[in-house]
Amino acid sequence: HLATSLPLPSERDHLRPRIDLVVFMIDIKSKYSLKNVETSLPHVDASFFLGKVCFLVTGVGRMNACSIEMNAVCKLGEAYCSPVLFCELELEGVRAATAQRLVRMLQICAGHIRGVSALSFVSLMRNSD
Protein backbone atom coordinates (compact mmCIF):
# COMPACT_ATOMS: atom_id res chain seq x y z
CA HIS A 1 0.00 0.00 0.00
CA LEU A 2 1.44 3.40 -1.01
CA ALA A 3 0.60 6.73 0.60
CA THR A 4 2.01 10.21 -0.01
CA SER A 5 1.70 11.16 3.65
CA LEU A 6 0.18 10.16 6.97
CA PRO A 7 -2.32 9.87 8.54
CA LEU A 8 -4.14 7.50 6.19
CA PRO A 9 -7.73 8.55 5.44
CA SER A 10 -9.96 7.15 8.17
CA GLU A 11 -12.85 6.32 5.80
CA ARG A 12 -11.08 3.21 4.60
CA ASP A 13 -9.89 1.98 7.99
CA HIS A 14 -12.28 -0.97 8.09
CA LEU A 15 -11.19 -2.16 4.62
CA ARG A 16 -7.49 -2.03 5.35
CA PRO A 17 -5.54 -5.21 6.11
CA ARG A 18 -3.17 -5.40 9.09
CA ILE A 19 -0.04 -3.28 8.58
CA ASP A 20 3.16 -5.19 9.34
CA LEU A 21 5.85 -2.79 8.16
CA VAL A 22 6.02 0.96 7.46
CA VAL A 23 8.74 2.14 5.10
CA PHE A 24 9.32 5.87 4.99
CA MET A 25 10.92 6.93 1.71
CA ILE A 26 13.22 9.93 1.62
CA ASP A 27 14.61 11.22 -1.69
CA ILE A 28 17.97 12.92 -1.12
CA LYS A 29 17.14 15.28 -3.98
CA SER A 30 14.04 16.56 -2.20
CA LYS A 31 14.10 18.45 1.08
CA TYR A 32 10.33 18.29 0.88
CA SER A 33 10.33 14.50 1.13
CA LEU A 34 12.29 14.68 4.40
CA LYS A 35 9.91 17.29 5.83
CA ASN A 36 6.97 15.15 4.74
CA VAL A 37 8.36 12.12 6.55
CA GLU A 38 9.06 14.19 9.67
CA THR A 39 5.45 15.41 9.82
CA SER A 40 4.05 11.92 9.09
CA LEU A 41 6.05 10.13 11.81
CA PRO A 42 4.00 11.39 14.79
CA HIS A 43 0.92 9.73 13.24
CA VAL A 44 2.43 6.26 13.65
CA ASP A 45 1.51 4.33 16.78
CA ALA A 46 4.48 3.89 19.14
CA SER A 47 4.27 0.09 18.99
CA PHE A 48 5.39 0.16 15.35
CA PHE A 49 8.79 1.51 16.38
CA LEU A 50 9.67 -1.87 17.89
CA GLY A 51 11.03 -3.08 14.57
CA LYS A 52 8.15 -2.40 12.19
CA VAL A 53 9.42 0.89 10.79
CA CYS A 54 12.35 1.58 8.53
CA PHE A 55 13.63 4.53 6.52
CA LEU A 56 14.58 4.09 2.88
CA VAL A 57 16.82 6.81 1.44
CA THR A 58 16.74 6.90 -2.35
CA GLY A 59 18.82 8.70 -4.95
CA VAL A 60 22.18 8.02 -3.30
CA GLY A 61 23.74 7.32 -6.69
CA ARG A 62 23.77 11.06 -7.36
CA MET A 63 25.31 12.78 -4.35
CA ASN A 64 25.91 15.89 -6.48
CA ALA A 65 22.15 16.46 -6.48
CA CYS A 66 21.93 16.09 -2.70
CA SER A 67 19.53 18.55 -1.09
CA ILE A 68 19.43 17.09 2.40
CA GLU A 69 22.03 16.62 5.07
CA MET A 70 22.82 12.92 5.56
CA ASN A 71 23.53 13.48 9.22
CA ALA A 72 19.93 14.62 9.73
CA VAL A 73 18.64 11.37 8.23
CA CYS A 74 20.89 9.20 10.40
CA LYS A 75 19.80 11.18 13.47
CA LEU A 76 16.18 10.53 12.50
CA GLY A 77 16.89 6.80 12.38
CA GLU A 78 18.49 6.96 15.81
CA ALA A 79 15.69 9.06 17.30
CA TYR A 80 13.05 6.58 16.13
CA CYS A 81 15.14 3.45 16.82
CA SER A 82 14.64 2.30 13.24
CA PRO A 83 17.10 1.21 10.57
CA VAL A 84 18.05 3.47 7.65
CA LEU A 85 18.55 1.77 4.29
CA PHE A 86 20.19 3.45 1.31
CA CYS A 87 19.52 2.70 -2.32
CA GLU A 88 19.50 4.06 -5.85
CA LEU A 89 16.23 3.26 -7.58
CA GLU A 90 17.60 4.07 -11.01
CA LEU A 91 19.97 1.10 -10.90
CA GLU A 92 18.05 -2.08 -11.64
CA GLY A 93 20.36 -4.35 -9.65
CA VAL A 94 20.23 -2.18 -6.53
CA ARG A 95 16.48 -1.75 -6.90
CA ALA A 96 15.91 -5.50 -7.04
CA ALA A 97 18.25 -6.18 -4.10
CA THR A 98 16.57 -3.49 -2.00
CA ALA A 99 13.13 -4.87 -2.82
CA GLN A 100 14.25 -8.34 -1.74
CA ARG A 101 15.62 -6.91 1.48
CA LEU A 102 12.34 -5.17 2.24
CA VAL A 103 10.31 -8.29 1.49
CA ARG A 104 12.55 -10.24 3.89
CA MET A 105 12.00 -7.62 6.59
CA LEU A 106 8.28 -7.76 5.90
CA GLN A 107 8.24 -11.53 6.32
CA ILE A 108 9.91 -11.16 9.70
CA CYS A 109 7.56 -8.37 10.78
CA ALA A 110 4.52 -10.43 9.74
CA GLY A 111 5.77 -13.27 11.91
CA HIS A 112 6.38 -15.63 8.98
CA ILE A 113 9.94 -16.48 9.98
CA ARG A 114 10.21 -18.87 12.92
CA GLY A 115 12.45 -17.81 15.74
CA VAL A 116 13.00 -14.23 14.55
CA SER A 117 10.81 -11.42 15.81
CA ALA A 118 10.70 -7.88 14.41
CA LEU A 119 12.27 -6.56 17.59
CA SER A 120 15.15 -9.06 17.64
CA PHE A 121 15.81 -8.42 13.96
CA VAL A 122 16.00 -4.65 14.34
CA SER A 123 18.39 -4.90 17.30
CA LEU A 124 20.54 -7.20 15.17
CA MET A 125 20.62 -4.55 12.43
CA ARG A 126 21.49 -1.79 14.84
CA ASN A 127 24.34 -3.74 16.41
CA SER A 128 25.94 -4.33 13.04
CA ASP A 129 25.99 -0.60 12.18
Partner: protein, 288 residues
Protein backbone atom coordinates in the same frame (compact mmCIF):
# COMPACT_ATOMS: atom_id res chain seq x y z
CA UNK B 1 45.07 47.19 0.46
CA UNK B 2 44.25 49.03 -2.74
CA UNK B 3 47.26 47.50 -4.46
CA UNK B 4 45.96 44.06 -3.50
CA UNK B 5 42.52 44.90 -4.87
CA UNK B 6 44.09 45.96 -8.14
CA UNK B 7 46.05 42.75 -8.44
CA UNK B 8 42.99 40.63 -7.90
CA UNK B 9 40.54 42.85 -9.80
CA UNK B 10 40.88 40.64 -12.87
CA UNK B 11 39.23 37.82 -10.89
CA UNK B 12 36.00 39.69 -10.38
CA UNK B 13 32.95 39.64 -12.61
CA UNK B 14 34.16 36.72 -14.72
CA UNK B 15 32.41 33.37 -14.99
CA UNK B 16 34.90 30.76 -13.70
CA UNK B 17 34.48 27.06 -14.36
CA UNK B 18 35.64 25.13 -11.32
CA UNK B 19 37.74 21.98 -11.06
CA UNK B 20 39.25 20.06 -8.19
CA UNK B 21 42.91 19.16 -8.69
CA UNK B 22 44.84 16.46 -6.83
CA UNK B 23 48.29 17.44 -5.48
CA UNK B 24 50.97 18.20 -8.10
CA UNK B 25 54.02 15.99 -8.01
CA UNK B 26 57.45 17.50 -8.61
CA UNK B 27 56.27 21.06 -9.18
CA UNK B 28 59.03 23.68 -8.74
CA UNK B 29 58.08 27.32 -8.31
CA UNK B 30 61.50 28.38 -9.68
CA UNK B 31 60.83 26.73 -13.05
CA UNK B 32 57.79 28.76 -14.08
CA UNK B 33 59.50 30.10 -17.21
CA UNK B 34 60.47 26.58 -18.30
CA UNK B 35 56.94 25.32 -17.69
CA UNK B 36 55.50 28.21 -19.72
CA UNK B 37 57.79 27.33 -22.60
CA UNK B 38 56.94 23.61 -22.42
CA UNK B 39 53.22 24.27 -22.21
CA UNK B 40 53.45 26.67 -25.16
CA UNK B 41 55.24 24.03 -27.22
CA UNK B 42 52.65 21.41 -26.23
CA UNK B 43 49.77 23.66 -27.27
CA UNK B 44 51.45 24.47 -30.60
CA UNK B 45 52.04 20.78 -31.26
CA UNK B 46 48.46 19.82 -30.44
CA UNK B 47 47.13 22.58 -32.68
CA UNK B 48 49.36 21.34 -35.50
CA UNK B 49 47.65 17.99 -35.10
CA UNK B 50 44.40 19.88 -35.53
CA UNK B 51 43.18 19.05 -32.05
CA UNK B 52 42.42 22.56 -30.76
CA UNK B 53 39.61 23.73 -33.00
CA UNK B 54 39.67 27.50 -33.04
CA UNK B 55 38.33 29.32 -36.07
CA UNK B 56 40.87 31.72 -37.54
CA UNK B 57 43.68 29.92 -35.79
CA UNK B 58 46.66 31.38 -37.56
CA UNK B 59 47.50 33.02 -34.29
CA UNK B 60 50.44 32.13 -32.11
CA UNK B 61 49.52 31.23 -28.58
CA UNK B 62 51.84 32.64 -25.94
CA UNK B 63 51.86 31.18 -22.46
CA UNK B 64 52.69 33.01 -19.24
CA UNK B 65 52.87 31.45 -15.78
CA UNK B 66 53.06 33.58 -12.68
CA UNK B 67 52.62 33.34 -8.92
CA UNK B 68 50.11 35.38 -6.97
CA UNK B 69 51.63 35.48 -3.53
CA UNK B 70 48.71 37.31 -1.92
CA UNK B 71 46.08 34.86 -3.09
CA UNK B 72 46.14 32.36 -0.26
CA UNK B 73 44.59 31.90 3.16
CA UNK B 74 47.58 31.49 5.43
CA UNK B 75 51.33 30.90 5.17
CA UNK B 76 50.53 27.18 5.11
CA UNK B 77 48.84 27.58 1.74
CA UNK B 78 50.74 27.54 -1.51
CA UNK B 79 50.68 30.86 -3.39
CA UNK B 80 48.20 30.86 -6.27
CA UNK B 81 49.47 29.98 -9.75
CA UNK B 82 48.18 31.90 -12.74
CA UNK B 83 48.25 30.59 -16.32
CA UNK B 84 47.58 33.09 -19.10
CA UNK B 85 47.17 32.27 -22.75
CA UNK B 86 47.36 35.19 -25.16
CA UNK B 87 47.26 35.33 -28.89
CA UNK B 88 49.59 37.29 -31.06
CA UNK B 89 48.80 37.65 -34.73
CA UNK B 90 51.75 36.49 -36.78
CA UNK B 91 51.66 39.75 -38.67
CA UNK B 92 52.94 41.68 -35.71
CA UNK B 93 55.71 40.75 -33.29
CA UNK B 94 55.06 43.53 -30.79
CA UNK B 95 54.06 42.18 -27.39
CA UNK B 96 51.65 45.05 -26.94
CA UNK B 97 49.51 43.35 -29.54
CA UNK B 98 48.92 40.32 -27.32
CA UNK B 99 45.27 39.61 -26.72
CA UNK B 100 44.33 37.55 -23.67
CA UNK B 101 42.53 34.47 -24.87
CA UNK B 102 42.25 32.19 -21.85
CA UNK B 103 42.90 32.47 -18.15
CA UNK B 104 43.26 29.78 -15.50
CA UNK B 105 44.50 29.76 -11.94
CA UNK B 106 45.21 27.26 -9.21
CA UNK B 107 44.75 28.24 -5.59
CA UNK B 108 44.41 27.05 -2.04
CA UNK B 109 42.74 29.16 0.65
CA UNK B 110 42.97 27.52 4.07
CA UNK B 111 43.49 24.15 2.47
CA UNK B 112 45.33 22.64 5.44
CA UNK B 113 42.98 19.64 5.55
CA UNK B 114 44.62 18.43 2.39
CA UNK B 115 48.19 19.71 2.62
CA UNK B 116 48.88 18.48 6.13
CA UNK B 117 48.32 14.88 5.05
CA UNK B 118 50.46 15.00 1.94
CA UNK B 119 54.27 14.44 1.63
CA UNK B 120 56.56 17.42 1.02
CA UNK B 121 57.22 16.44 -2.58
CA UNK B 122 53.67 17.41 -3.51
CA UNK B 123 52.25 20.89 -4.08
CA UNK B 124 48.64 21.33 -2.95
CA UNK B 125 46.53 23.67 -5.05
CA UNK B 126 43.19 21.89 -4.97
CA UNK B 127 41.03 24.57 -6.61
CA UNK B 128 41.36 25.39 -10.31
CA UNK B 129 39.33 28.14 -12.01
CA UNK B 130 39.18 28.54 -15.79
CA UNK B 131 37.81 31.29 -17.98
CA UNK B 132 37.77 30.97 -21.75
CA UNK B 133 37.29 28.32 -24.42
CA UNK B 134 36.87 24.75 -23.21
CA UNK B 135 39.38 23.56 -25.82
CA UNK B 136 42.15 25.55 -24.15
CA UNK B 137 41.10 24.37 -20.70
CA UNK B 138 41.37 20.84 -21.99
CA UNK B 139 44.86 21.44 -23.44
CA UNK B 140 46.21 23.11 -20.32
CA UNK B 141 44.60 20.44 -18.13
CA UNK B 142 46.12 17.62 -20.17
CA UNK B 143 49.58 19.12 -19.96
CA UNK B 144 49.39 19.59 -16.20
CA UNK B 145 48.02 16.07 -15.73
CA UNK B 146 50.83 14.56 -17.80
CA UNK B 147 53.61 16.71 -16.34
CA UNK B 148 52.69 16.63 -12.65
CA UNK B 149 50.74 13.37 -12.43
CA UNK B 150 47.64 15.06 -11.08
CA UNK B 151 43.94 14.70 -11.85
CA UNK B 152 41.41 17.40 -12.77
CA UNK B 153 37.71 16.88 -12.14
CA UNK B 154 34.83 19.27 -12.73
CA UNK B 155 33.60 20.50 -9.37
CA UNK B 156 29.86 20.02 -9.04
CA UNK B 157 28.02 22.03 -6.38
CA UNK B 158 25.10 20.23 -4.72
CA UNK B 159 21.84 22.01 -3.80
CA UNK B 160 22.87 21.55 -0.16
CA UNK B 161 26.10 23.49 -0.75
CA UNK B 162 24.31 26.12 -2.85
CA UNK B 163 21.94 26.79 0.05
CA UNK B 164 24.96 27.31 2.36
CA UNK B 165 26.34 29.80 -0.15
CA UNK B 166 23.16 31.81 -0.52
CA UNK B 167 22.66 31.96 3.27
CA UNK B 168 26.27 33.06 3.86
CA UNK B 169 26.40 35.59 1.06
CA UNK B 170 22.93 37.07 1.61
CA UNK B 171 24.04 37.83 5.15
CA UNK B 172 27.14 39.78 4.11
CA UNK B 173 27.24 43.43 4.97
CA UNK B 174 27.64 45.60 1.86
CA UNK B 175 28.21 49.34 1.59
CA UNK B 176 26.67 49.94 -1.78
CA UNK B 177 23.13 49.11 -2.83
CA UNK B 178 23.13 45.41 -3.49
CA UNK B 179 21.46 43.45 -6.25
CA UNK B 180 18.61 41.07 -5.50
CA UNK B 181 19.19 37.64 -3.97
CA UNK B 182 18.04 35.17 -6.58
CA UNK B 183 17.50 31.42 -6.37
CA UNK B 184 16.82 29.38 -9.49
CA UNK B 185 15.10 26.00 -9.19
CA UNK B 186 14.63 23.36 -11.82
CA UNK B 187 11.48 21.28 -11.56
CA UNK B 188 12.04 17.56 -12.18
CA UNK B 189 9.94 15.02 -13.98
CA UNK B 190 7.95 17.30 -16.24
CA UNK B 191 7.45 16.73 -19.95
CA UNK B 192 8.98 20.15 -20.58
CA UNK B 193 11.69 21.47 -18.26
CA UNK B 194 10.53 24.28 -15.99
CA UNK B 195 12.77 26.75 -14.17
CA UNK B 196 11.52 28.84 -11.29
CA UNK B 197 13.37 32.01 -10.39
CA UNK B 198 12.79 33.40 -6.90
CA UNK B 199 14.13 36.91 -6.33
CA UNK B 200 14.29 38.49 -2.89
CA UNK B 201 15.10 42.05 -1.96
CA UNK B 202 18.67 41.97 -0.58
CA UNK B 203 17.74 43.90 2.57
CA UNK B 204 14.91 41.49 3.33
CA UNK B 205 17.24 38.53 2.85
CA UNK B 206 19.89 40.04 5.11
CA UNK B 207 17.27 40.93 7.74
CA UNK B 208 16.02 37.34 7.68
CA UNK B 209 19.54 35.95 8.03
CA UNK B 210 20.29 38.31 10.90
CA UNK B 211 17.33 36.95 12.86
CA UNK B 212 18.46 33.39 12.21
CA UNK B 213 22.20 33.56 12.85
CA UNK B 214 23.03 33.25 16.54
CA UNK B 215 26.81 33.75 16.61
CA UNK B 216 28.39 36.24 14.22
CA UNK B 217 31.16 34.60 12.23
CA UNK B 218 29.74 31.10 12.78
CA UNK B 219 27.18 29.31 10.64
CA UNK B 220 25.49 26.01 11.44
CA UNK B 221 23.49 23.63 9.25
CA UNK B 222 20.42 24.32 11.44
CA UNK B 223 20.66 28.04 10.73
CA UNK B 224 20.92 27.46 6.98
CA UNK B 225 17.91 25.10 7.18
CA UNK B 226 15.81 27.67 9.05
CA UNK B 227 16.76 30.39 6.55
CA UNK B 228 15.85 28.21 3.56
CA UNK B 229 12.64 26.95 5.22
CA UNK B 230 11.49 30.56 5.72
CA UNK B 231 12.08 31.27 2.03
CA UNK B 232 10.26 28.08 0.99
CA UNK B 233 7.33 28.81 3.33
CA UNK B 234 6.98 32.35 2.01
CA UNK B 235 6.93 31.10 -1.57
CA UNK B 236 4.43 28.37 -0.75
CA UNK B 237 2.12 30.85 0.94
CA UNK B 238 1.93 32.87 -2.26
CA UNK B 239 2.18 30.27 -5.00
CA UNK B 240 1.22 26.95 -3.37
CA UNK B 241 4.40 25.41 -4.78
CA UNK B 242 6.85 23.43 -2.61
CA UNK B 243 10.24 24.69 -3.76
CA UNK B 244 11.82 22.18 -1.38
CA UNK B 245 10.76 19.44 -3.79
CA UNK B 246 12.55 21.12 -6.70
CA UNK B 247 16.27 21.18 -7.39
CA UNK B 248 18.16 24.33 -6.48
CA UNK B 249 20.47 24.91 -9.43
CA UNK B 250 21.75 28.46 -9.11
CA UNK B 251 22.10 31.16 -6.48
CA UNK B 252 22.97 34.82 -7.05
CA UNK B 253 23.79 37.53 -4.57
CA UNK B 254 25.69 40.82 -4.70
CA UNK B 255 28.75 39.01 -3.30
CA UNK B 256 28.90 36.11 -5.76
CA UNK B 257 26.81 33.74 -7.83
CA UNK B 258 27.16 29.99 -8.19
CA UNK B 259 25.67 27.34 -10.49
CA UNK B 260 25.41 23.63 -9.71
CA UNK B 261 27.53 22.76 -12.76
CA UNK B 262 30.47 24.33 -10.92
CA UNK B 263 30.46 27.84 -12.38
CA UNK B 264 30.95 30.84 -10.11
CA UNK B 265 31.22 34.56 -10.51
CA UNK B 266 32.75 36.64 -7.73
CA UNK B 267 31.47 40.20 -7.67
CA UNK B 268 32.89 41.77 -4.56
CA UNK B 269 36.59 41.96 -3.72
CA UNK B 270 35.99 42.27 0.02
CA UNK B 271 34.56 38.77 0.21
CA UNK B 272 36.95 37.14 -2.25
CA UNK B 273 38.94 35.24 0.43
CA UNK B 274 35.73 33.96 2.04
CA UNK B 275 34.34 32.68 -1.24
CA UNK B 276 37.66 31.08 -2.20
CA UNK B 277 37.89 29.42 1.20
CA UNK B 278 34.47 27.82 0.72
CA UNK B 279 35.34 26.69 -2.82
CA UNK B 280 38.69 25.29 -1.64
CA UNK B 281 36.79 23.26 0.95
CA UNK B 282 34.43 21.88 -1.69
CA UNK B 283 37.36 20.99 -3.95
CA UNK B 284 39.13 19.17 -1.13
CA UNK B 285 36.05 17.15 -0.20
CA UNK B 286 35.67 16.14 -3.84
CA UNK B 287 39.30 14.96 -3.90
CA UNK B 288 39.16 13.01 -0.65
Amino acid sequence: ENADSQKTAFLLRKAWTLYSVTPLSGFRRARLRDYARLLGAFIAAERQKGLAVEVGAELDIKVALSSLADLRGSELDEAALLVQLSSRSQASSRSSEDKPVWLGWFCSVFGDDLSENVPEYFTCLPLFLAHGAESYTSLVGSWFQKTFDCCFRRLAISPLNLSWMVAMWAGCKLDRAASAVELVFSVPRLSQPLDISYAIHPEDAKALWDTVQKTPGEITQEEVDVFMDCLYAHFHRHFKIHLSAAKLVKVSTAVASAHCDGIVKILHSQYLPGVLMLLTELAISQIQ
